[in-house]
Subunit: 746 residues, 2 copies
């Protein structure tokens, strides 16, 4: 069904290729990737795919797992308590056996905007495609048994998750409006972000009139009963269509977070007819368009598969819910499922700024609008509710990144207000949700002390423990402060610039020089309010919300000073010692590829003048950890964060997020053309590149020599040509003119 | 239509009188009362009444104002930005002229559960009655013009209010399901509590099939169009029924905060038929039942009117929304529209504890359940969202009042947890919403300092100002701490008791002895962090959220030490000086009868041994400020707070809320019988009472002499007989055995 090969050639632009053919949505569905393999548009609100086995999978999907049905709202690449899995549709053959309807899968297929599987228990081929807010199902029944389809308004993922992160049903409603229309909703709270209530409304339109129907509430099935009102229980409905014929039965399910009426309007607007293949082709074209924003040459098909699947994964989340915000009415865009900014600010947001600037503009505007109406920008958010912060207030990085890169159409004055709110206003009872927990102490002491313990019973809180991320918070708050300082400078707020620039150098307050491990000394370490160090701690102690470090250990966090690598190098004893430390780190057990705090660490060699070592590390990481196999993503994809990291690094540079600086990490492709929008292109050429010739010998930018291993966004913002000459050995490239650090600057 | 006189006599109990005949819902609709005169059950979710003039009235009603229609959700006796006014129904005669449909009123009638008015523009008699969640309309058309009825899902009150307290439409939806059924909803945010979104769903069923119909969205009217989905605009629908006949057209409107399906279920469950008079009679009986919990004898009909209307007003709010909570599913009761606890904890909640213990139990349970799911009990709440605190965390008083009076069926362990949350956990960014703003400083310094300034941009915040209620907070936190101490003691938490008992004596930290005014010295005064007093301040400076005192001045708040009147008397220079101070206060300009902080102040004479002066003051206040006229309530009724104050004081005693103590204030009736539930009665008899014989000479409780002007709840909890002998002159009654104060106790 897919159109292979070249579709269109625009004048002077690379041809629009059928790049969807290089996307395999199953990559990352095995191992720890947790990616969603079902049908979705880029940033699509409807993510239609199977919910399997015991519905404890974060994406709904379980390889080979028994299928309960296909639900319309999912997230991709996430951990913790599952969220969503709402409005489940399942075809079956009669009779209707409540609670028993499920099937073994066979012959699963997935491609952008399409998912198919044979339901062997019933001899049904299930296919699905999507528009932004509509799921389109096509069920072909293979035998002549009585054909049935159910719509379950009570189904969800993660009902039995631990740790207060289970989803809980508040209520649901179902109504058989006619023999071709079922409407209803599910209202749920909880999940990973311990969020309040969210409601998913639907209108399901069938192309074949039902011959009989029924509804259920709780354990009671009622044939011929047309509606079940919401009394806090699970409800659903089934249609029977009589005995089988070869003709498929199609169902379109409009989804809305506003109302059933809106769901129906969405359906009518986006998918007026019954042409499944047309909707599918539209989805493919939409994906092709965004995939074609990076055109690569000189890569194996396998590498292209890895690369374009990564691009695909980096564009599944956050979710565009513009027009679907039940909480306020504004003219701003609305995005949800930031899962979390802590993951995505490092690579995903900068990637969008580069190749989808209008999309990133809208995302930033939505974050600022959340601040307008709720008081803080979120670090994580899902189901219209801000969840826990992971560490710092990293929306600050996102706003600064957009500002410094000149992204237009954003109210930066209000964005700056929101950053100051993060930096100054204690979130109090919600110290785990909004802004910066422990901010008063950070301001007063210059670090979050070891005794820091957020108190309170807010339902979004974990049971408070000593240290609550005091280490992660201190280093990230320092980086966030530098983001604020730069925006302050750009907005002409000189005093603020000085203030936050100073605060950006708070991280050394937790640098304990005396700690030694594996020949390396100096680590970020827990310090008490009175200035004394905690002794009962180790360099390899990682943790989660309740601990000193979040999701990484002292080895990893002691490299997290993106705003001032030079000062970090000095603290570590100079460039040579620092490079040794990096070597020890990457060859030892403490580097974890799947861990965001270390995303930028390979680039740190470049700050010490060793660009080629950055390049080597990255090449090694990619070769070792990224493949086109189903377990080809290292760890949770984290809303596409792992994937965005790969995209940048294979193209040949990597952003220092929250700055206008890219580090050159060496291309994996002979040629890559990035579409920056408005007809602007950035061309990256690697002459002589081969597996052997992988070291940069020299570089030019727009024809002029580039004697440094970094460049500013402003240098390529209007497009340009970055040309590298590659060779078999490391050169002096990047030895001089080191990338900028805070402590170098005026 | 009302049945006059005595209905039923139970064995040994006072006869059930038709006490609704003494209720005039118009009392308090003129002047500043802001009470709602429409149809409601006790604590009823549906409050059906007219929305008038420019819809800027808090109750919807404006005396003589042009009527736009009758909407289903209202509050009573409130100030600030209006809330609700949702789902408006209006009859008219053709043609349909959008935006022009309104009428002058004539012949307004109101009684419990019933409202009627002639719409003179159209010659229509409009009548309405209610069940808990259903509004029942009966429209009798007086001429033969084409009869129409519209349902406006976009109408609301207070759209143009200032100060960030305006209501804002998020969206609405309407659907003409059949010629007798219209469904839809309105989603709104804002209003007095600056709340987030709430959604009011409805199902309107007509007894007469429409002959034609139409719908509108924004400014576009669409005849024959059956639905308007939610795109963020105002929507509505109209029905035409052809030319007139004498037969009335009836409409039942089921309301729900869950869904249209639930609204229809509510309608079918509560009002299955079309017998308007029956539904009206049921409402009257329900009111009669709750009014008959106090049976009074020996009062003029006018006094009875004042008294029973006050009882009526004290039972309009909060609103029983059990089964209608869209935010979580629990088995606990759910109440909304606490507007605010700061107003009602003083008299309304203690009144319910006494005569409607099951109702009060359910209210307390709902407050604790809000803590369970949201982290704090509310001080104010409306539209399912907690709004600003007025001063202290006065839910503590409500829980303590219930606990100390032995109210059964409440999880006091969790209630105590919620109190500790208030007392210990800084609400941070929401310092104006949850818990106790400035709690860290209160704990550290023993007072909230003058410089206290809640920072932050939370949408629920006013623009922060210096002093943010530091004075109100300090005195109320001290009183709240005593409430906690007493519960701690009862739960066997000895260390906590000692801790909070100590904190309950924090108020003198703001007592500035040197301030003099009108011969009186010593006032609560703003003090800085460093211990120095603010000089630029005055004893008569009252304010609101941004000021040192909330809604009262230093004269008033310097009497607010309900937990330790004895220490206050000492601070003021002893009993005689204190009584002079009270005299100066009550005869001067600073006492404001409509002001909750002074509700208890008349009782303070009794703590100095002058019961008769308490009695005199109260009698004077009632005679001066409470009448049966339409402006007969002094100031905002504040959700019935003014009314509950009157009920207690006319019966003859008044609670020290948050303690198990009542002060005897002298009866206004020869006999009052209070139904305490479970067949228990408290009889209050005033022998020889007359306008002249208004002083208590002696008292007995259950036949034994009562040599004190107060008693404990435990002394009357199982019922009892309180008998006073009245005389023409003050006696020694209450001179000895003064009521308990914290500083008297072990």
């Amino acid at each position: 069904m897919l159109i292979a090969g070249i579709v269109l050639t625009l004048k002077g632009q690379p041809p629009t290729e059928q790049l969807t053919s290089f996307v395999d949505p199953f990559i990352g569905t095995e191992g720890a990737g947790d990616v969603f393999p079902g049908a979705s548009l880029p940033f699509g609100m409807v993510k239609l795919g199977p919910d399997c086995s015991d519905k404890s999978s974060n994406s709904g999907y379980v390889p080979g797992g028994v299928i309960h049905g296909f639900s319309h709202v999912h997230v991709s690449g996430t951990g913790g308590g599952p969220k969503y899995g709402n409005i489940l549709v399942m075809p079956f053959t009669g009779p209707f056996q409540p609670g028993e309807i499920q099937s073994q899968p066979s012959n699963e297929q997935a491609s952008p905007g399409y998912f198919a599987v044979d339901l062997t228990n019933y001899d049904i081929k299930a296919e699905m495609t999507v528009s932004r807010r509509v799921g389109f199902h096509r069920y072909t029944f293979g035998n002549t048994n009585e054909r049935g389809i159910l719509v379950d308004a009570g189904s969800m993922l993660g009902e039995h998750h631990c740790c207060g992160e289970a989803q809980q049903l508040i209520g649901s409603e179902i109504k058989v409006v006619s023999d071709t229309l079922i409407q209803g909703y599910t209202r749920v709270r909880g999940g990973w972000n311990k969020g309040g209530e969210y409601t998913v409304f639907f209108s399901a339109v069938f192309d074949t009139p039902a011959k009989s129907f029924g509804t259920w509430k709780g354990d009671t099935d009622s044939p011929e009963k047309a509606s079940e009102y919401d009394s806090g229980e699970k409800t659903g409905a089934w249609f029977f269509f009589g005995n089988g014929s070869k003709k498929a039965i199609q169902v379109k399910v409009g989804i809305s977070f506003i109302s059933c009426g809106k769901a129906l309007a969405n359906l009518r607007q986006e998918v007026p007819g019954w042409d499944f293949d047309k909707v599918h082709q539209d989805a493919v074209q939409t994906w092709n368009k965004v995939l074609n924003t990076i055109h690569v040459e000189g890569a194996s098909d396998d590498m292209k598969k890895v690369f374009y699947t990564a691009m695909y994964h980096a564009m599944l989340m956050p979710v565009d819910r513009t027009g679907e915000n039940p909480k306020w009415h504004s003219d701003e865009p609305y995005y949800d499922d930031f899962y979390a900014i802590w993951d995505t600010f490092r690579a995903t947001n900068p990637l969008l700024t580069l190749i989808q600037p209008n999309r990133e503009r809208d995302i930033v505007r939505s974050l600022i609008d959340i601040y307008r109406y709720e008081g803080y920008m979120p670090d994580s958010r899902s189901g219209n509710q801000t969840g826990r912060t992971q560490g710092g207030s990293n929306c600050d990085m996102v706003v600064a990144d957009a500002f410094l890169k000149g992204l237009k159409g954003i109210d930066y004055q209000t964005g700056y207000e929101a950053m100051i709110e993060d930096a100054e206003i204690p979130p109090g009872g919600n110290q785990q949700t909004d802004g910066r927990g422990g901010i008063n102490e950070y301001i007063k002491l210059g670090y979050v002390p070891a005794e820091y313990e957020p108190k309170g019973k807010s339902p979004t809180l974990h049971t408070p423990k000593l240290y609550d991320r005091a280490g992660t918070r201190t280093v990230e708050y320092s980086a966030n402060d530098w983001a604020i300082a730069q925006v302050a400078k750009g907005l002409g707020k000189k005093a603020d610039y000085e203030k936050y620039r100073k605060r950006a150098s708070n991280w050394p307050n937790l640098w304990r020089r005396q700690v030694n491990d594996s020949g390396v000394s100096g680590f970020i370490w827990p310090k008490r309010r009175d200035g004394s160090w905690v002794e009962d701690f180790s360099t390899t102690k990682a943790g989660s919300w309740g601990n000193f470090f979040y999701e990484a250990d002292a080895w990893e966090y002691s490299f997290y000073v993106p705003q001032d690598a030079q000062a970090l190098i000095d603290s570590c004893g100079g460039a040579e010692t620092f490079v040794k430390r990096l070597d020890t780190f990457f060859t030892g057990p403490n580097y974890r590829v799947d861990n965001e705090p270390s995303f930028f660490t390979p680039c740190l060699y470049t700050y010490a003048g060793y660009q080629y070592k950055s390049s080597d590390r990255i090449r090694e990481i990619i070769q070792k950890h990224y493949t086109s196999a189903r377990d080809g993503i290292p760890g949770n994809d984290d809303s596409g964060s792992m994937s965005a990291w790969l995209v940048f690094n294979t193209v040949g540079f990597y952003p220092n997020a929250g700055q206008d600086v890219y580090l050159i990490t060496a291309p994996h492709f002979h040629r890559a053309v990035l579409d920056l929008g408005d007809g602007k292109q950035l061309e990256v050429i690697a002459s002589n590149l081969s597996e052997k010739n992988r070291y940069i010998q020299s570089a030019t930018l727009n024809g002029k020599p580039l004697n440094r291993a970094w460049f500013r966004h402003s240098e390529i913002a209007d497009g340009g040509k970055l040309r590298f000459v590659m060779g078999p050995k490391p050169s002096d490239f990047g030895k001089e003119n080191l990338p900028p650090s805070l402590s170098d600057m005026e």
